[in-house]
Structures are given as structure tokens and as C-alpha cells.
């Protein structure tokens, strides 16, 4: 394909402006959506990263989350950050064990850790009692009181078999069954506490924490912390207690985050939209191959080959898809600022994302442009010429 084909395509598209705009609209919209989605995802991701930047060495991150699991990128960010700081990241997995009294399985949870967890935490106490020598070799779990009751677990009989493995119940917590509290990650911590609403176990626990970071989206919980803050710090001998309302868990930003999640679906919607738009263009060109036969016949008479006509059509579709795609991308990049402002959501447009979009666009453009071009190659010149009387 030469510049001649592209020039022809540009002229054809420019001089059928209505048709061009109509067929390009879907593609442009898809790329707009995709660009916004990427910017939103990256924005959220970077916001999460910034969250952790403030964590020091002797820090415990107690993550409290009302009802939603953190998205995978939360963990990606955390992993990357721990690598950078050579922090040790210990995963604690959470699982629903059974139904509580109300029959809601999500409200009865157990937290599992891997063996590294116990190695780092070196638990000395099990719910206030000294840990027995033989108990130090089993995995430990903290479960909610309702569940403990249901399973008949008490501090006297602290063992439970889960998935073929024995766990020792290290603590029984009031409030865990009230739902929502999850420890997701610990960063290079020596001791940790499970914080539950209404913060009783934190306040009454005798674990010497150096630094507690509490994140919460719950206003009452914050009020709790605020009320007991002074008293608590003195009593626990803590250096510092910081509660943090920044992204992504500010109350009002929870909506922003769910919007960010929506935006992730925006990627899917964008992809479907892109697919349909390309289908529309294919159908349009399928029709054009018929109603432009006279024009093609003229080109044949002027010495063009069917392959030449195919290249013309290829250039047209390529330019149409790429042009409208770029227009959509540009609009998306420009729209990041107002979107971030209106919906208070972190948006971070980035050249790496644009490159991905360009790659995708190129692929889609080629895939859409090829069929009309190949079909045109099958034209019979004589048949086209017979239209010319």
C-alpha cells in the first residue's frame, strides 16, 4: 500500500463526512471508554501505592474494610511496594467457614495464615493464655465468637480441623462475626492485632504495638478511635496511632472506588462496543462493495487491478478505524481532568496505556480492513465493466 491509497482514502472519507462520522462514532466511543478505564485503573492503583508509602518499619497495617474485597491491584501494588522496600509480606487468607445464626455464611470467618506468619509473630499467648509447646507447630487462626460457639471451640479446646489440616484457634474475637473486619496484609511487623468493631480487642489486647495504622470507612469506628485515642495510646505504650482517611477508603471515596470498579467493567463495555462498531463497518463495506461497483468499474477502465481497488478499500477502513480511534483516545485523555474533578476519582492517563490502546487499535483496524480488501480482489473486471454502457 502506498501513499496514493491513503490519499485516496482520506479524500473518500472526507467527502462522505456523514457516513464517515457515523461509522467512526462507535469506534471513537469505545476508545474513549477504554482510555478512561485505563486512566481510572492506573489512578486507583497509584492511589493505593501512595497509601503505603507512608508506612514505616515497625508498622502494622490493619486493614478494615466494610463489605467489599480489595481488588487484585491492591495486592499487586502491595507486592511491588514490599519488593521495593524489601519488606516482608505475609498473606493472611480469609475464608467463610459456615453459617452464623442468621444463616449468612459471610459473617462467620476464619483467618488462615501460612507458617511464615507464626514464625514472624512468634505468638506467645493464645487468647491471653500462655501458648503450649506443642501448639506452636500448628497453624493458627482467629475466629469469630459466634462461630467458635457453633463449632464448640473454646480456649480449653482450641483445635479445629479445616481442609485436612489442624488449626489452633489463637484467638476468639467478639465482633468478627459482626462482619467485615479483615486483615489483608501485614508489612514487616513484629506483632499484630486484629481490630474489630468496636475496637475492644485492640484496646484490651496486651500486644505491644509500635505503630498502628487504622483504615476504616466507618464513621462510628472513627468516633470510637477518636474518643479513646489518648487513653489507648497511653495504655498500650504506643508511639503513634494514625488513622487515615485517604484514598481509597474514605467514606465519600468509597463511591469513587466503586466507580473505579465500574470503570473496570467500562473496559469490557468498551471491548464489546469496539467489536460491534467493527461489525457495523464490515457490514457497511459489504454493502459498499455492491453499490460502488460502478466506481470500481471506472477504476478498472483506468487501468487499476482488483488488488488496487482492494488496497484502496483497505486504506479507507484502516484510516476510518484508526482515525476515529485516535479521536476517541484524544477525547478520553482530555476528559480525564473533568472526570476526575466531577466524580472525585483518581485518574492517571499514561503513555504506556496509550501504547496498549494503539496496539489494540492497530490490530482491530487491520482485522476490519482485511475482509473488504480481500473481497475486492475477487471482483471480475469484465462484470464490473459491463455496467458501463
Amino acid at each position: 500500500m502506498s501513499g496514493g491509497h491513503l490519499r485516496h482514502a482520506r479524500r473518500y472519507l472526507a467527502r462522505h463526512l456523514g457516513q464517515t462520522l457515523l461509522s467512526g462514532l462507535g469506534i471513537a466511543f469505545s476508545l474513549l471508554l477504554l482510555t478512561l478505564t485505563q486512566a481510572s485503573q492506573r489512578g486507583t492503583f497509584e492511589a493505593v501505592l501512595r497509601e503505603f508509602e507512608g508506612l514505616g518499619q515497625n508498622s502494622a497495617l490493619l486493614y478494615m474494610h466494610e463489605n467489599e474485597r480489595l481488588p487484585p491491584r491492591f495486592f499487586e501494588g502491595l507486592g511491588r511496594l514490599s519488593d521495593n522496600h524489601q519488606w516482608r509480606t505475609l498473606p493472611i487468607f480469609e475464608s467463610a467457614l459456615g453459617a452464623n445464626a442468621v444463616g449468612q455464611p459471610v459473617q462467620a470467618r476464619v483467618l488462615f495464615t501460612d507458617p511464615d506468619f507464626t514464625a514472624v509473630f512468634q505468638p506467645k499467648l493464645a487468647a491471653g493464655d500462655p501458648l503450649r509447646e506443642e501448639d506452636q507447630h500448628v497453624n493458627r487462626a482467629v475466629i469469630g465468637s459466634t462461630l467458635a460457639e457453633q463449632l464448640g471451640i473454646s480456649l480449653a479446646t482450641p483445635h479445629v480441623k479445616l481442609g485436612g489440616e489442624w488449626y489452633q484457634v489463637r484467638g476468639i474475637s467478639n465482633g468478627l462475626q459482626a462482619g467485615g473486619s479483615q486483615i489483608h496484609q501485614f508489612l514487616n511487623i513484629r506483632e499484630a492485632a486484629l481490630v474489630v468493631r468496636p475496637l475492644d480487642s485492640l484496646l484490651h489486647g496486651n500486644r505491644p504495638l509500635k505503630f498502628v495504622l487504622i483504615r476504616t470507612a466507618n464513621r462510628e469506628q472513627l468516633a470510637d478511635v477518636g474518643r479513646r485515642f489518648t487513653h489507648f495510646l497511653a495504655e498500650s505504650g504506643l508511639d503513634h496511632l494514625r488513622y487515615d482517611l485517604r484514598l481509597p477508603l474514605k467514606q465519600n471515596q468509597l463511591t469513587a472506588r466503586s466507580q473505579a470498579l465500574l470503570a473496570a467493567h467500562g473496559g469490557l463495555v468498551g471491548a464489546v462496543c469496539l467489536l460491534l462498531s467493527c461489525l457495523g463497518i464490515l457490514i457497511s463495506y459489504q454493502l459498499q462493495l455492491r453499490y460502488r461497483r460502478e466506481e470500481f468499474g471506472t477504476l478498472i477502465a483506468l487501468g487499476a487491478s482488483p488488488a488496487f481497488i482492494g488496497k484502496n478499500l483497505f486504506a479507507e477502513v484502516l484510516l476510518l478505524v484508526a482515525g476515529s480511534g485516535f479521536a476517541g483516545m484524544a477525547t478520553g485523555i482530555a476528559a480525564c481532568i473533568p472526570v476526575a474533578w466531577v466524580w472525585v476519582t483518581p485518574m492517571s492517563p499514561h503513555p504506556a496505556d496509550w501504547a496498549t490502546s494503539v496496539g489494540l487499535l492497530a490490530l482491530v483496524a487491520l482485522a476490519t480492513a482485511l475482509p473488504p480488501a480481500l473481497l475486492a480482489r475477487r471482483f471480475d473486471p469484465i462484470e464490473l465493466m459491463r455496467l458501463h454502457r
Binding site: R11, A301, L302, M385
Partner: protein, 226 residues
């Protein structure tokens, strides 16, 4: 040394399956020679033009275009020859609708591989009385003007052969006459012309008039319709 004829056809045979169209057709045409071909409808005139335009291949016989044997030409070469050396005009104009008159002309030159000389294009447009219309789209022109624009497009690349299939068929006598004047004016175009026409008064203006009958070309003998 005598110049090789532009067209040499001998014993040409062509059939659409069982429908025999051309049988043992012969034609020799010198450079710059202008002939008209007549014949009743369905005689195979358009088919012959398509063969002459290297669009249609034939079943048997010999066809040399400017000394080159056509049936042995490679596929791409046929298009090259058509683009460079053959101009075509039809009953209707068939300009590309979204290109201006000038762009139509330039496109033909580009396909021919000859750079369009703006002065020459302007000159040709002036010759056919379209000086002011170069930037217009075909839909902005009358039928006769479009036909003249089509003629300019066919001639701008200075082809060796102009093929015309009923070029005046759609025009009134006066407009048709003007188009014919232009086509046959050596100052505008000096190459060879083969025109198909149903109108004796058109045919009479050519050097030779041939009739396509029973698949062969014969000298036209006028059988006046009373």
C-alpha cells in the same frame, strides 16, 4: 523502417460458453488511425472493445498490441498497458463521483504512471470548454459536460489508443457532435481511436467504418433503411 501497427488481430475467436461472439476476427490498426465499428445489438461490439482493452481474454487467435503478444502478457503487465496506453470513454461518463473533474483526470494519469502536467490538464479542459469547472464535482455538471470531462480524463495521459463505446449515445445531436469534434481533433489527441456507434452520421466522420457481423469485421456497406 515501417512502423508496427498498433493493433494486429488475426483469427480471433471468442465465445461465452456455447454463445459464440467473435469468430475468425481480423483487424489491423495503424498508429493514429481512427475507425468506427457498427453492428446490431448483441453483435459483440462491447466484447471486442473489452478484448482490445486487455480486459477480456480470448479463446483463439493472435492479438498483438503495439507489437506485444497480448495472450502471453503477465497479469500485472496487462493492467500497466491499459493504464498507460489505453483510454476509454463510454456512453455515460462514469466519472468518480466524489472526485472533482481535475482529480479524476489526475487519478487517470497517476494510474498511467505519467505525472499529470497541470498546464496540459488546464489546456485540455480549455479545449473542451470546461476551464471554469475543474474544481467541480461531476454532479455539478450537465451530462454533456460530464462526457467531455470523461474525454479529458481519457486523453490526458496521451494514450496510444482511445476506445469509445457509444460515446455520444446519451447526448443530443449537437452536444454529441461537439464531443466527437474534440475526440477527432488532432490538435487535442493524435492517437488511434476505435469507436462503437449505432449512428451512421457519427461513423461517417471516421477514417474507416467497419461492421461487426457474424463475429467478423467487414467493411460497412450501407443498407439504407429506406
Amino acid at each position: 523502417m515501417e512502423q508496427t501497427p498498433l493493433i494486429q488481430m488475426q483469427g480471433l475467436r471468442f465465445a461465452y460458453g456455447p454463445v459464440s461472439v467473435l469468430a475468425d476476427l481480423g483487424l489491423t490498426l495503424g498508429h493514429g488511425e481512427r475507425i468506427a465499428i457498427m453492428g446490431r445489438s448483441g453483435a459483440g461490439k462491447s466484447t471486442l472493445l473489452h478484448i482490445l482493452a486487455l480486459l477480456q481474454s480470448f479463446n483463439e487467435g493472435r492479438f498483438l498490441f503495439d507489437g506485444e503478444a497480448v495472450d502471453t502478457l503477465e497479469r500485472g503487465r496487462k493492467e500497466e498497458v491499459r493504464a498507460r496506453h489505453i483510454g476509454m470513454v463510454f456512453q455515460a461518463h462514469y466519472l468518480i463521483p466524489y472526485l472533482t473533474v481535475e482529480e479524476n483526470v489526475v487519478l487517470a494519469c497517476e494510474l498511467a504512471g505519467v505525472p499529470a502536467d497541470p498546464n496540459q490538464v488546464t489546456h485540455l479542459l480549455a479545449c473542451v470548454g470546461l476551464t471554469e469547472r475543474g474544481k467541480h464535482r461531476p454532479t455539478q455538471l450537465s451530462g454533456g459536460e460530464q462526457q467531455r470531462a470523461g474525454l479529458v480524463r481519457a486523453l490526458a495521459k496521451q494514450p496510444l489508443l482511445l476506445l469509445a463505446d457509444e460515446p455520444t449515445g446519451n447526448l443530443d445531436v449537437e452536444t454529441g457532435g461537439r464531443v466527437l469534434d474534440l475526440m477527432l481533433d488532432p490538435a487535442i489527441y493524435a492517437g488511434a481511436v476505435i469507436a462503437v456507434t449505432h449512428q451512421p452520421e457519427v461513423a461517417n466522420r471516421f477514417d474507416r467504418v467497419l461492421a461487426l457481423r457474424d463475429g467478423r469485421l467487414q467493411y460497412q456497406t450501407w443498407e439504407q433503411p429506406r
